[in-house]
């Protein structure tokens, strides 16, 4: 017996039955508002460091790197980039100073090589290590030149590595990695380091267990702020203590630190409305960009192996229009040195602070306990509706004359499962086609049109009203289970999927009413707004608006090119966003769409 209590239709209060739609709509909108309300100081929390061994900034700076030294290194690097033998140049620089350095060939047509050096801890036996990564080329936001040589990042990584060589207080090894093709090179290096692929050639040397690190991307000589990039693969994030350490050091050295190139001024001079707008932008971009499952830098590959890391990018965005002088490289070196000294104090990996959070600005954040509530509010209508439907199926054994026993309960009507399963199979089959076609926008549109006309071509769903309800019940349960599981893996994606699916459920359920206007209206909505491609376009436009911070016109070309770039690169990152969308979300949407075409068969005899 599945439940101890008899849930019957008469147990549902009548007022609730009448106002169901209002209740569900209320939950949905409160959920959306709740998400925006996460920004408020009542709900969000102030940053704090959980690991008190870190003590950022407590130790005074010990390394002094002169400008001449940097210039000398940059001169050598420039010749290396020009003559295309940069990895040899870096390796020779290491070897000259007595630091072991190795190269790894990327097994492809290009002659690119990863180069890495290991500065060993002088007094310990290489039990733990820190990693500093400086990709050879980085992506910048200019139209003319998509990637630029990471001259200053490499130069400073090298200089700090050379300075920390033979310092008696280093208790961890430092691995200095210079990967060749950004994410591709990093992934190959990591696979070889941890020996994850059976056919990969193992590396020449390993250091201690890698605890945490930083990626330094500084292509420009003069920069005005540091952009902290922390998005990982599939919504993974580094430990909040790591980010807070870097933010604390940036504040101490008066360097503006921004998330997503949005600098929120925390002083009391700033107008409250500006502070709110920027914080809201940060929060929304945080949620939207994590949903794609694609990381914002090389650090995503390391997060996959649970090596906490963020990317520091020297950006040209000024904190305000009055900032005239760029940041000195000396201050930037101080931050990296302070970070390494803090990490040096640690005995264990980062484990004290949060792994799931959203940033509001560099001083406030919301943790998973708080941000789950809006999603719960949005998905709650699905669960309530499924419970209401469930209760409407069953009858107590005394009242009805003819009873249909199924699953140990007496149902009010005869259940014909075959029509329903046939429907589900057809929808799943059509959705799975998406996995096999090349992902170009035009093909997707063709696929979409096929899906739209399929109810007309194939046999539409014929059932009684009760069977329609049963189908809805199954879909509601599946949808809420899917969204619940997804929220634990990639919350942002679950949130967006919920925002998309909940209206679909509502309008599909509305098509139960017999009036033909409502039916056609629901189908029309499915064609226009509640359409995955349209939703994708809206999402893209919203993300562009938020990132730019000003009004932009929608640009279809931008959408297609961004989409193509995304699809081309997402396979590289072990991301599963597209797979989940194609295999889980699209079938549900398609089933809901097709259920609006259902044709009422015989009126059921009982009741």
């Amino acid at each position: 017996m599945p439940l101890l209590s008899n849930l019957l239709a008469k147990d549902i209060p009548q007022t609730f039955q009448k106002f169901q739609l209002h209740v569900y709509a209320g939950f949905f909108f409160f959920g959306l508002l709740g998400f925006v309300y996460l920004m408020s100081p009542i709900v969000s929390r102030r940053n704090y460091l959980s690991e008190n061994a870190l003590s950022p900034g407590l130790v005074s700076n010990d390394i002094y790197i002169s400008n001449e030294h940097i210039r000398d290194i940059i001169g050598q690097l420039r010749t290396g980039f020009k003559e295309k033998n940069i990895s040899d140049v870096i390796q020779s620089m290491f070897v000259q100073r007595g630091i072991e350095a190795y190269k790894q060939n990327l097994e492809d047509d290009t002659n690119d090589e990863n180069v890495y050096g290991i500065v060993r801890a002088p007094r310990l036996a290489s039990t733990e290590s820190i990693i500093l990564v400086a990709p050879l080329y980085v992506r910048i936001q200019s139209k003319s030149q998509p990637i630029k040589a990471n001259l200053y990042g490499i130069a400073h990584t090298l200089a700090i590595g050379f300075a920390l060589h033979r310092k008696p207080y280093m208790a961890k090894d430092i691995i200095l990695l210079f990967p060749a093709q950004q994410e591709n090179g990093t992934r190959i290096w990591l696979d070889a380091y941890f020996n994850t692929k059976p056919d990969s050639i193992p590396l020449d040397a390993h250091a201690g267990s890698i605890q945490a690190g930083l990626t330094l991307e500084f292509p420009h000589e003069k920069f005005y702020s540091i952009d902290l990039r922390h998005n990982g693969i599939n919504g993974q994030l580094p430990n909040l203590d790591l980010i807070n350490t870097v933010v604390h050091l940036c504040d101490k050295n008066s360097i503006p630190a921004s998330y997503y190139d949005i600098y929120v001024d925390l002083s009391s001079n700033e107008l409250f409305i500006d502070y709110m707008k920027k914080s809201l932008r940060t929060l929304l971009i945080n949620a939207l960009t994590l949903a794609t499952g694609v990381p914002s830098g090389v650090h995503g590959q390391f997060l996959h192996y649970r090596i906490e890391m963020i990317t520091l990018f020297g950006s040209l965005t000024k904190r305000d229009q009055y900032q005239t002088s760029p940041i000195t490289l000396r201050a930037f070196d101080d931050i990296i040195e302070g970070f390494i000294r803090s990490l040096n104090n640690l005995l264990e990996r980062f484990h004290q602070s949060f792994f799931f959070y959203f940033h509001i600005n560099r001083r406030n954040f919301v943790s998973i306990a708080t941000y789950m509530v809006p999603l719960g509010l949005i998905v709650a209508p699905a669960l309530i509706r499924s419970l209401v439907l469930y209760m409407s199926f069953f009858t107590s054994s005394e009242t009805s004359a003819t009873t249909y026993i199924t699953l140990g309960r007496t149902m009010k009507f005869d259940m014909n499962y075959s029509a329903m399963f046939l429907e589900i199979l057809e929808c799943l089959a059509l959705s799975y086609v998406l996995m096999w076609i090349p992902m170009k926008f035009t093909y997707l549109i063709i696929c979409q049109i096929t899906m739209f006309i399929s109810p007309i071509l194939l046999r539409p769903f014929r059932s009684t009203e009760r069977q329609f309800d049963y189908l809805q019940f199954i879909l509601l349960l599946t949808g809420s289970a899917l969204l619940g599981c997804l929220s634990l893996l990639n919350y942002s994606m679950a949130f967006l999927a919920a925002c998309f699916l909940m209206p679909c459920y509502m309008f599909a359920g509305c098509s139960k009413f017999d009036h033909w206007i409502i039916k056609y209206f629901c189908r029309f909505l499915f064609l226009t707004c509640l359409n995955p491609l349209v939703f994708l376009a809206l999402y893209h436009y919203l993300a562009r608006l938020l990132m730019a911070g000003e009004f932009l016109l929608p640009n279809f070309n931008q959408l297609t090119s961004d989409f193509d770039t995304y699809i081309a690169s997402y396979r590289l990152f072990n991301a599963w966003t597209v797979d989940v969308v194609c295999l889980a979300i699209v079938p549900i949407w398609f089933l809901l769409y097709r259920s609006t075409f259902w044709i009422r068969t015989l009126v059921d005899k009982t009741q």
Binding site: A53, S55, L58, S60, R123, Y169, R341, N345
Partner: protein, 345 residues
């Protein structure tokens, strides 16, 4: 026969009244059986200051006379040889970094993972395995005064040992009662420098115990200052001001326990130093000398200071004074204690 013994006694009394050495010795402590137990309970690099606390108290206790054989020193972690220490083999308790408190003359009895609640209790009650060497035992008897100093991280009614266990106030009180029943102390002075220190001694019920803690219930004891070159806090507030007090102490000091209680007023310590004297009924703590606990009769070698010796050993007096005094050698014999930890120029 009787008359002769009477005369001997009279002679002895007369000489002791007149003999300058006797006068000097009378003023100093007469205790020969004092013990000290100094415990640091916390490990990890950022708890550097606890090790520095204990080692500084160790230096003061040793300087005032208690020998290494009567001191049990427990250090939970090795800061001097920690790979993070930029000054290897040295521990400092001050940002000026002038005194290396972990010098040549430090004998640690229990180190590292041996500092556990079980070992601490076994030392106090002498229930140690038979193979334990004498240097690791507390061989006190009913005439010993014991000085116990503990530091680390504490809370309401407990003290944390080694990050994975704790000793509660009730347990500690019971241990002291065991000691009392086994006649292992005459008087006991308990000093603790942790957060909410006073809660650790509020459960004591054995007689002749004095206790002082650096903070009361609900208060945190604070650290004093950071050494930016090492990157850690190097000393706690209460211990810093207690050391300032103890450094001025000499063997013949007449400073009382009450003076020690007031060595760190609230405006310096920020947390409120709390003490307990209700168990100390036999004497008045206001008249009890601090050197009754922290001092001991020193092993004395009576040395005639002449040119040869002054070349080798520096005493408290200056070189010129020695030269002058040599001329009046026969009249005034200067007796001074040889410095326990000689600082060679």
């Amino acid at each position: 026969m009787l008359f002769r013994s009477f005369l001997t006694v009279l002679l002895f009394l007369a000489i002791s009244a007149v003999d300058p050495f006797e006068k000097f010795a009378e003023a100093t402590t007469r205790h020969t059986n004092n013990w000290a137990i100094l415990v640091d309970t916390s490990r990890f690099w950022f708890n550097y200051r606890h090790v520095a606390n204990v080692l500084s108290i160790y230096r003061s206790v040793k300087r005032l006379g208690i020998p290494d054989s009567n001191i049990i020193l427990m250090l939970a972690d090795d800061m001097a040889c920690n790979a993070r220490n930029p000054r290897p083999a040295e521990i400092f308790n001050n940002v000026a970094e002038q005194i290396n408190v972990y010098g040549d003359d430090v004998e640690v009895d229990y180190r590292g993972y041996d500092v556990t609640v079980e070992n601490f209790v076994r030392v106090l009650t002498n229930r140690l395995p038979e193979v334990t060497p004498v240097s690791k035992r507390l061989l006190s008897d009913e005439s010993s005064n014991i000085f116990i100093y503990m530091t680390g991280h504490g809370g309401d009614g407990f003290l944390k040992f080694q990050d994975n266990e704790e000793i509660s106030a009730v347990e500690l009180a019971d241990v002291f009662e065991q000691m009392w029943r086994k006649k292992r102390y005459h008087e006991l002075f308990f000093v603790v420098d942790t957060c909410q220190a006073a809660t650790l001694f509020e459960k004591f019920y054995s007689p002749n115990i004095l206790a002082v803690g650096s903070s009361k219930r609900g208060e945190d004891s604070l650290s004093h200052h950071v050494d930016p070159k090492i990157g850690v806090y190097v000393i706690d507030r209460f211990t810093y001001y207690a050391l300032e007090f103890l450094e001025k102490l000499k063997q013949d000091s007449q400073k009382t326990i009450n003076d020690f209680f007031h060595c760190c007023p609230k405006h310096l310590c920020i947390s409120e130093v709390t003490w307990r004297t209700d168990l100390f009924t036999k004497r008045d703590y206001r008249k009890t000398l601090l050197t009754d606990f922290i001092g001991n009769v020193r092993r004395t070698d009576i040395v005639m200071i002449d040119k040869q010796f002054s070349d080798n050993i520096l005493t408290n007096s200056t070189r010129e004074a020695i030269v002058d005094k040599e001329e009046e050698q026969s009249k005034q014999q200067q007796f001074t204690y040889i410095s326990q930890m000689p600082i060679v120029d």
